[in-house]
Amino acid sequence: MPKIRIDGREIEVPAGRTLLQAIDDLGLLMNGVEIPHYCWHPKLSIDGSCRLCQVEIEGTPKLQIACNTPVQDGMVVHTQSERVRAAREGVMELLLINHPLDCPICDQAGECKLQDYAYDYGLTQSRSREPRRALKKNVDLGPTIVFDQERCILCRRCVRFCEEVTGTGELRVFGRGDRSVVDIWPGVPLDNPYSMNVADMCPVGALTTKDFRFKIRVWFLEEVPGVCTGCANGCNVYLGVANNKVYRYTPRRNDAVNQTWICDAGRLSYRRIGAADRQRSALVRGELGVPEPASFERALAEAASRLRRLVEVKGPGVIAGVASAHATNEDLYTFRRFLLALGAGESGVAVPRGDSDALLVKEEKAANAEGARVLGFGPARAVLERLRAGGVEALVVLGSDLLGERGLEDLSPLDRLDTLVVLAAHQSDLQRVAHVVFPTRHAAEKQGTLTSHAGRVQRVVPAVEPAFEAHAEGDVLHRLGAALGLPGFEGSYDPRAVFRALVREVPAFAGLDEGALGDQGAPLAAPAERPKASRASPGARA
């Protein structure tokens, strides 16, 4: 590998890369090696027009743009020399002469690269006395994006994104010289399933999302690393949290999962966390046959008593379980242990489905479908067949995706059940026929792991606390197990301990630990490499 010297430090860089690419490959860009830039983006073609990334390379008289200079063995680079600083100052000054003084009303403030680099590299005062360009402001570019043409610094990232990533090509630069403007062709708005990514990659507030417009200043937000739960891709996100509320998702870079992108639907799925249809209270069906709010303890007692009675009368084989693909590995592993310890009959996982695309969006519309399968849950169809054949008297159901399963067109099969226990984060029709409902937590409200469609295990952490009493599915099941006196459900529920147990007991999880997962996740052991499972342990079918 070529060796270069950068700011006096010798490093080995990947061959065949430009300087910026190589520094970025090593994770050092703006993280040890400071080369400010606008038009370059790790996932787009090289543009070379902003000129901000110029650096000094010994042996070359002119400054060179780091984004388009191939690394060569022995190259000596200076990124902080006087010449480089003067060049950066020049670029910043020139970008600011036409830039409107919108900071007080601009959403980008606080995460604006123009602000940042002007502060780091620019002049403190403008010398221009000339009137600024007057262009379009507050333009409806399409269903998701607001456009301010005056703020645009013409880095062309958005143009390249629409051309190279989504292939939709809605945005272009029209005109010439200092009359150049980014715009759409009239009648063809910016409207594609990934449109909101342009707001992330726009270094300034020219492209912003309608969803986030004027909601909150970004410096109030804590950006908590997490995972989108909209589909099985498991795109990495930052949850923007303030006041115990998630204000937005923005994509978090993970080159193995989602590059730097997220689909619009996934990005907006943060709304599910604070949705009005959250299950806010435990429910117990009263004498009138109508679910009534109850305390968690009351619900626990009711569920335990009903299940215990059924086991005594008919044996545990008449109890079936339906898992949710939204639940974490820890929730699901606890559910598996619960069903085994109980001696329950059929179990399966209900997975919601929808459209997919060639980029990120997956057919399975839940974040842990693969995790459920790896942990031994087959399709929920098996449970439904048994239900219709009359062999099921009680169901413990996680989530409400059972309702979407083919074969369950209406609630009547469930209505006939002796006992229906539902653990759900959102309200659904299941409540109408359930005997006990437990409110559960969204992935943003608990500690755990999710397994993406590609078999990548990724962590989620509690970013917000629900305003009502709700527990992770695993927690509810742990307490239910304890209430039923099942072995192995002593003490309190600890998802971290559950994960460690997973790693020990489930061959696919072998070798993982929290450290290995980090912020980018880690893959399951490939089937060929998995150590043999013992017969008794759950997940033997994996």
Binding site: G169, E170, R172, F174, W185
Partner: protein, 154 residues
């Protein structure tokens, strides 16, 4: 829309280039020869023939001086006002023509016949002042000669 003739001309151009898009500028010249400007429909038609997007066509139209994205008067009269021509009275010529036509540079006569403007260097520096009327150069002008040329336009 564009005529069959124009379409045939565009097809002939496409044959000369290894990539269809290479024929875009020639195609737009042909479209303008017929319509006087590149209408949205014409842009869409050209885009389809060349297998690109209408927005690709309009981006090009807005970049080049000689392509227009709106209907044009019958004649374009451009007086060069770059340095060599200005040194020899181009500005005075333009002002005289403005007065003669009764319009400011950058506008068109009310009857839609003539658009008057100024242009950058046209490569006739030794024959200044001069003007371009559509595809023709008129050089070594004085005010009288220039007026005469305009008056002769239909």
């Amino acid at each position: 829309m564009i005529s069959d003739e124009t379409r045939a001309r565009i097809d002939a151009e496409i044959a000369k280039y290894p990539v269809k898009r290479g024929a875009l500028l020639p195609a737009l010249h042909h479209v303008q020869a017929e319509l006087g400007y590149v209408s949205p429909q014409a842009a869409a038609a050209v885009a389809e023939i060349l297998e690109i997007r209408p927005v690709d066509v309009m981006e090009v139209v807005t970049f080049y001086n000689m392509f227009y994205d709106r209907p044009q008067p019958r004649h374009h009269v451009y007086v060069c006002t770059n340095l060599p021509c200005s040194l020899r009275g181009a500005r005075g010529l333009l002002l005289a023509l403005e007065a003669h036509l009764g319009i400011r540079a950058g506008r068109a006569t009310a009857d839609g016949r003539i658009a008057l403007g100024h242009e950058e260097c046209l490569g006739a520096c030794a024959y200044a002042p001069m003007m371009r009327v559509d595809d023709r150069y008129h050089e070594d002008l004085d005010v009288a000669k220039a007026k005469g040329i305009l008056d002769a336009l239909e």
